[in-house]
Symmetry: C2
Subunit: 145 residues, 2 copies
DNA sequence: CTCCTTGTAACTCGTAAGGTTACGTCCCAC
DNA sequence: GTGGGACGTAACCTTACGAGTTACAAGGAG
């Protein structure tokens, strides 16, 4: 488990909720979602908590409580999901401050910051090109094969 | 320290070595490099070990031992460096296999694999657009400011 | 009031990176 | 052929974080 699966789980959750809604269910509970992702309901609730802060889902309480997707799946891009998870950047800087009396040590961080910003941009553009609706279509298409 | 700084350190090391060579030093020792990065020499040797496997640097032994960059800095792209570190992918799949009797659970992984491959490609193209020589130029330009 | 589910705290576990110490290995210089 | 400096790597510790789990307060429809 080197990389983290948070984006994978979040996309899975949203895709599942959209399909579940289409099949007539009013709300989705963290327990049922966990049954598809194959994990603990609390893990799902934590994930849904992030998505809720970003306004992608809403929680209902009381009897018949559960979660609903609040936006059109055609309008939810994977970039929206990625940003909802506020993951740290792809690459980090030095743990300790490099030697400031060395030309490289003192100048490398702004230079790399620029490079890493470019990477982040490229990745965001890619993520913005796919929506939850796209994912669901693709998943269902594979199902028919 | 959320993200890992391995790429940052590797680029720092190579850039420093190129500058050091220009200043007339035959070889660079892990101890001197560590002085610029501000870390332990063993951390640097581990990093250089990865770069050596990729053919970017070479180690000399015996008296006057140390490291030398073996390729023209104009030809070493950050993608070369990134690949030398064989870091895991950006995003990981589920830790446990999702529910295969669920349409989403059974189809989501190939779909996401495709998306993640696209991300990786975009990132690689960006990394390939910058060389160690570019980084050194940029670092030195900031120095003059 | 009752019951179901959310929302969150608190804990454990596994993994990975970074830092450190230690030591065997290599090979030039003398 | 021996000494010494630096590589190369094993071993261990610490820190960080995601994931999984248990437990429980809070909310609200019926």
């Amino acid at each position: 488990m080197s990389a983290n699966s948070r984006l994978t789980v979040a996309v899975h959750v949203l895709t599942w909720m959209v399909l579940d809604r289409r099949e007539g269910h009013e709300v989705a509970t963290s327990e049922r979602i966990a049954g598809s992702v194959n994990t603990n309901p609390v893990v799902i609730r934590r994930c849904l908590g992030d998505l809720r802060k970003a306004g992608l889902v809403e929680a209902r309480r009381g009897t018949g409580a559960g979660w609903v997707v609040t936006r059109d799946p055609e309008s939810i891009t994977l970039l929206d999901v990625y940003e909802a998870l506020d993951a740290g950047g792809l690459f980090g800087m030095h743990n300790a401050q490099p030697n400031q009396s060395c030309p490289v040590g003192s100048g490398i961080q702004p230079t790399l910051r620029q490079v890493y910003d470019g990477l982040e941009d490229a990745m965001r553009k890619q993520l913005a090109g796919t929506t939850i609706a796209d994912v669901l279509r693709d998943v269902l298409a594979r199902q028919r094969e």
